[in-house]
Symmetry: C2
Subunit: 488 residues, 2 copies
């Protein structure tokens, strides 16, 4: 049992809890406190050290988050690392401190498994959110590379905001959606995901609250949470986010921001209606809540054009607008863009420079050629038809095999069908059983932790015949589990 | 004057200082405390609230770093923001909290100016650290793109560690330096800069100490500092870091890591000798200090091959090895790599996936072709000759124009000459005067904040004729300033 004959100096300008942290680390480093030893209880420590219990709690929290101790309260805190074992082991690393362990770890594991299994041979990927290899416009790409091959005169570091030529082209292209911005208000990023990272690194104090649809793609990534933000899910109906949910969930004491995917929402496929867009914009304006509009699926409409972006109606620079070439052409470019007020874009681009000195110039040059040559528009027209075929076929297969066991939406665009099982079975079991049959699914609890009845089916990736084989097998597995678990 | 009739709850599990922070933010948000108002002095606050002064200091520090108040002590703390003005303004943003304002801001400004002025017309860039446009192997690139144009079958998201084919090629290539690793121990990144960001995000607790050469490239970027690490500069001699400096500067109570550029050091051009490499490795091993070896200039030797990397002799997985294609081929690829123990690479690649889903596949595919086709080696042979010509010419120009006013090294490779002025003039003035004459220089205090007598000349970027014009003009400006400041 550890004995402490030391007390913090109450007259020091160093806070009491910091003094305690430093003292304990010193004792651990010098070997006086040995790995494996228990610390005295919080009450005892507060007596021994002559400080409030809250000060002890704070010191232990810091030691815990820095990986020196583990356990909680009641004499259960144990020394588990010294400085070296900490630095050399990767079991307990800084960024994890930010993540609420109990919520994130299981999902992280599923996602890591998905990321890995995707590259297994012969696996049928029913949930993958990208255009499949057959949808890649190989001929056009080949023409563009050929035409472009002797035009690359040099490949230096670029301006902070990205290739000017590409930003000019995008500034022009965005006019199609009623968005009128200069190239200086556009930042090229390495995919929309990076935009989210830059926003959380450069615009948001930790502790900010992020409102988002529930479920949401955002839940499946850890960027905001890793950097200390809190997520709050908003209820949706068929027209998108229910406006009252915003006022109900806006933080009173913290900075609040709305992240939304209004067009062909991931994972539900919902399109926010025109009216709803105005309501959301107005509500956010009156509550002074900035908006991130993630619009990466916009181009992929099938039956009719979706309503214009929120950004189109944004008079006060309240909306940061995200686009990407990942879904409509190919993720391998790793190119996306952020559009917003120039001073915000300046800030984001300064951080981007400190992060990676800009995105691939090769990708940017080739993408500029894609758009300016007209090939991109031509490709989109074909892609929409192909996706529509795939969607229709998938809906047909679902009707034939899932009518009695599931409900689903009919998406008007994008990649996703949000399948709701009628009976409660363990999604985790389903996920693992499916893998045994070489079928990879995206369980719904990736997008909504409390959700155990949904899965996201993507018709963008697999061929129609694989879709048929995969979904049929999946329906058998589900029926088996329902029987086993006797859950209907 | 603000009056406070509230006291923190000493029995609460929330720490006193947090309670105070929350209270003040609440009062600011509700408008009870108005922007512009002064807070009572620290002493008064500590009386009013019934807490230690250190608790007040801590609360004010947090409020300050979150941008709610400014000023220090003695009744001088003033409310400057409410939550909304904070979120909407970009003047005071989270990441800045991490940066030691007084040290970094001026340099950041210089670097921002450099970043911007580089794209001005007709400016002569004497400090730019990249191969100039004339050194870009346009013909080879064109051949590769042509040959490759119909080989791109799809461009999906890639495996977390990057294109397997490229990692295999690199694993093979690294054998040239005695580094024997499997592709699973290599992570492809978007340039070596991103590797540093990933390392600081995923391996280091805030508060870690980073040892590095003084001066160092590392000082000119803000990644480690932004994420809460402390930098400590180590003295060098002509053989590299002086080993005793490591023990002298290693943290006793904090995690310590060594960042080094042993080969063609940026900005001094120094090459660490074979013996010194062993000494540094051994010292670090005995102090259990992991090493980041930044080896991006290795290929650019001129007179003789440099000693093998530290990594070559690293038996215990103590070294993370960084490479990049930026300096030896072109920065526009935005491709670099990290080599290290597999579990560390796993960790880094998991964070990379959460950051940007991997680097440009186009860049990776084309680079793989560059290396496997043999074009890369062929290019390097030419590049070395061209760089040597440029170096020799630059040394000649220096001899003709700077002999009486400066000293410099003769670099054996890389891009840089570290010019030391014999007289003390204001580098800031020199920087601004040079800009007037359309000459852009990299002042030495970017790499060593206390250094006011050096500049980094890079012979990689400008043509010989521009170098002659630029350096001549620069020598006149320096002579003028010496006269004006009467500083010799
Ligand atoms: C809504 C949404 N936003 C952003 C992304 C990330 O796309 P990118 O490849 O542009 O980073 C995705 C991809 O899964 C997505 O579904
Ligand atoms: C020592 C050193 N490391 C890393 C980098 C960054 O290179 P990259 O373009 O690979 O990010 C540079 C470039 O300035 C450098 O000088």
């Amino acid at each position: 049992m550890i004995d402490i004959n030391w007390k913090p100096d109450k007259n020091s300008s160093v806070t009491l809890y910091k003094q305690i942290v430093n003292y304990i680390i010193r004792e651990i480093s010098t070997g006086n406190f040995v790995i494996g030893t228990k610390l005295p209880s919080q009450r005892k420590l507060s007596e021994m050290l002559g400080v409030n219990r809250s000060t002890v709690v704070e010191a232990l929290d810091e030691l815990k988050s820095r990986g020196f101790v583990e356990g909680k309260g009641g004499g259960g805190t144990r020394i588990i690392n010294n400085t070296w074992s900490l630095l050399s082991s990767t079991s307990k690393l800084n960024w994890e401190n930010y993540i609420d362990g109990s919520i994130h770890k299981p999902n992280l594991r599923t996602i890591q498994m998905v990321n890995k299994l995707e590259y297994e041979k012969d696996i049928i990927r029913l949930g993958t959110g990208e255009p499949g290899p057959e949808l890649f416009p190989q001929d056009m790409m080949s023409k563009i590379l050929n035409k472009y091959s002797n035009k690359i005169k040099s490949l230096g570091y670029l301006e902070a905001k990205g290739l000017l030529e590409l930003r000019k082209i995008l500034s022009q292209y965005l006019k199609n959606y009623g968005i009128n911005v200069s190239p200086a208000s556009i930042l090229i990023v390495s995919g929309a995901l990076q935009a989210l990272q830059l926003i959380s690194l450069s615009l948001l104090p930790p502790g900010s609250r992020i409102l988002m649809e529930n479920p949401s793609y955002l839940k499946s990534i850890h960027i905001f949470q890793s950097l200390g933000m809190n997520l709050a899910g908003l209820k949706m109906d068929n027209e998108g986010i229910i406006p009252d949910e915003i006022s109900k969930n806006s933080g009173k004491k913290v900075n609040t921001l709305l992240y939304t995917i209004p067009t062909f929402h991931n994972p539900t496929g919902i399109v926010m209606t025109e009216n709803r867009r105005m309501e959301i914009l107005n509500t956010c304006e009156s509550y002074r809540i900035p908006i991130i509009e993630d619009d990466v699926y916009r181009e992929l409409w099938m039956d009719e054009l979706p309503p214009m972006p929120l950004k189109t109606k944004d008079k006060n620079g309240n909306v940061l607008y995200l686009g990407s070439i990942s879904k409509s052409l190919a993720p391998g470019f790793r190119i996306g863009w952020v559009v917003g007020p120039e001073h915000v874009i300046d800030r984001l681009s300064d951080i981007k420079m400190q992060t990676d000195y800009g995105s691939s110039s090769i990708s940017q040059l080739i993408l500029a050629e894609w758009i300016s040559s007209g090939f991109y528009t031509e490709h989109l027209e074909k892609l929409r038809i192909q996706l529509k075929h795939r969607r229709d076929k998938t809906l047909e297969i679902l009707s034939e095999n899932f009518k009695d066991i599931a409900l689903w939406n009919i998406p008007k665009g994008g990649f996703y069908i949000w399948l709701k099982l009628k009976c409660n079975i363990s999604m985790n079991k389903l996920f693992l059983e499916a893998i045994k049959e070489k079928i990879l699914i995206n369980p719904g609890n990736i997008y909504d932790f409390s959700n155990n009845q949904h899965l996201r089916i993507s018709y963008s990736y697999v061929s129609n015949s694989d879709m048929e084989v995969g979904l049929k097998k999946l329906s058998y597995i589900i029926r088996d589990l329902i029987k086993q678990e006797d859950s209907c």
